[in-house]
Amino acid sequence: MSLSRRLAPWWLLTPYIAITALFFVVPLLDAIGISFYQTNGARSRVWVGLDNFTFVLGDPDFHKALINTAVFTLGSLFIQLPLSLGLALLLHNGTGRAVRAVRLIIFSPHLVGQVFVGILFSVLFMPRFGLINQGLQNLIGWGLEQRWLGDPALVMPALILTSLWMYVGFNMIYFLAALQGVDKGLVEAARHDGAGPWQVFRHVVLPAIQPVTVFVVLTSTIGSFQLFELPFTLLRGNGPDNAGLTVVGYLYQTAFTAGDLGTGAAVGWILAFIIFLVGLVQIRLVGRGGGA
């Protein structure tokens, strides 16, 4: 079988386009339409115009969800990614079995699904009996009765800690891969010119790994904004005082728990818009900052 060069890309793209059209675009259009209605069941449907959007934008619960999600996102960007990069730098030049083993170990939590991690950590975080509580009590004399998943002030730290365990290693691999692409000659030359480790890192390594940094920042942001399954299983709900309510959790609550599909769709659109906007800003910021 041979394909003409002109048509070949379209043949290759056909499965992607067909499946995306049917299972992404069609439901997407449906979801756009439904966001202007209030529905109940297959038959009852009332046009409400922009009411779903104005309700969501004015809803204090949505504001809370947005703040929580933003905090979580900032946590993953400013705690998780530096840790990932730091570990990658520590591992980078190492060779030998031990270093490879450490690399595997640090990545390994990513093998465990969010559902499992959620329930596993819900036990680790238990007041008095949880490993984390007992560990903290042993080490620093604090924390035995802290209700990580029950105290509004501790829910977000608990979520961030859990996601650190899951994702630090995953992003580390990206950085590790990027570091291997850094031109060793450039590093040596900079050293030769008397640059200290920090300066080498700042002016040689960081610019060199910038494309990967953009990529990791973007994917982490998208992932963080779409956080759902982890709080869903870790907290078995939204947590006390909605402290673990995320935007997608709010979407789930309105669309499925409360059965208001129209409002749920409106939440989805608002979220997509925010992710889009944040993504654009990040590409400009990180793109420029790293290149300077």
Partner: protein
Amino acid sequence: MTSLQACLLAAVGVGVLLALGGPRGRRWSGLYARYALLGLAAGLTLTPFAWLLCAAIKSPEALLQTPFLPALADWPRDLTLANFATLFKPQPGYPPFWRYLLNSLFLASVGTLLQVVLCSAAGWALAKYRFRGRGALMAFMLGSMAIPGMVLLAPLYQLTYRLGWLDTWLPLLIPGAVSAFVVFLFRQASQGVPDELIEAARIDGAGELRIWLHIGMPLVRPMTGAFCLIVFLGQWNAFLGPQVFISRQELLTLPVALNTYMGVYSQQYGVFLAGTLLAIIPPAILFLALQREFVSGLTSGAVKG
């Protein structure tokens, strides 16, 4: 000294051992610190696994008695394989446990294969051909990643129903057979294939399909391995989709089936955790098999932005 303090000391010890086994001839200043840090990170990462392993073999009464393993004298009483036995014990009206394992294995491997084949084709087309609409397609693809999947769940359910696919595996396999993210990764990886090779093949009379399969894909292989793992993990651990689309017990996947041990009237943590341990094994095997390709593979997907 408590067992926890012992655990942390052990982590530091691992770091020291690593230092001894580490590379020689470099500057030694800071090397110990570096390996101690790495050892600490590895120790902290492993702690939940260690806990999980211990929890899975403890009796329910012993689960929270000690952080890890009970005192040696209590082993005969407190250590048991009962949690695993409960998982595999036949229950009237329910399929045997291995059935869920097999279902998950089948769904995850077929789902991964579909994604790898279809997305590599799309990625190759986007990387190696110039055609009208390519820019628009790329923009659409990247934009589609911003849409949370949850918005589509209800319309997708309706569509699945109209197609007569409810209570089958099709809604788990087909809509998930392509992913913008994986297409994007394959596009980035395919860009690394030199154009001269392709031109040379064309001159030799190779067809476009042949060029994709026998010149493009072999060169992209290291990345394919890495993407395979990422896709497999997503499919293997999928929860929401199987929970919503499947109600026939014998079609359920492992995570959904295990979740029923955290039931309404009773929560069998030990059994659930034993199941979690089993659920980690297949992706771990895949990961260990692919680890060589893994690091190098991921870069090319991300580097050339």
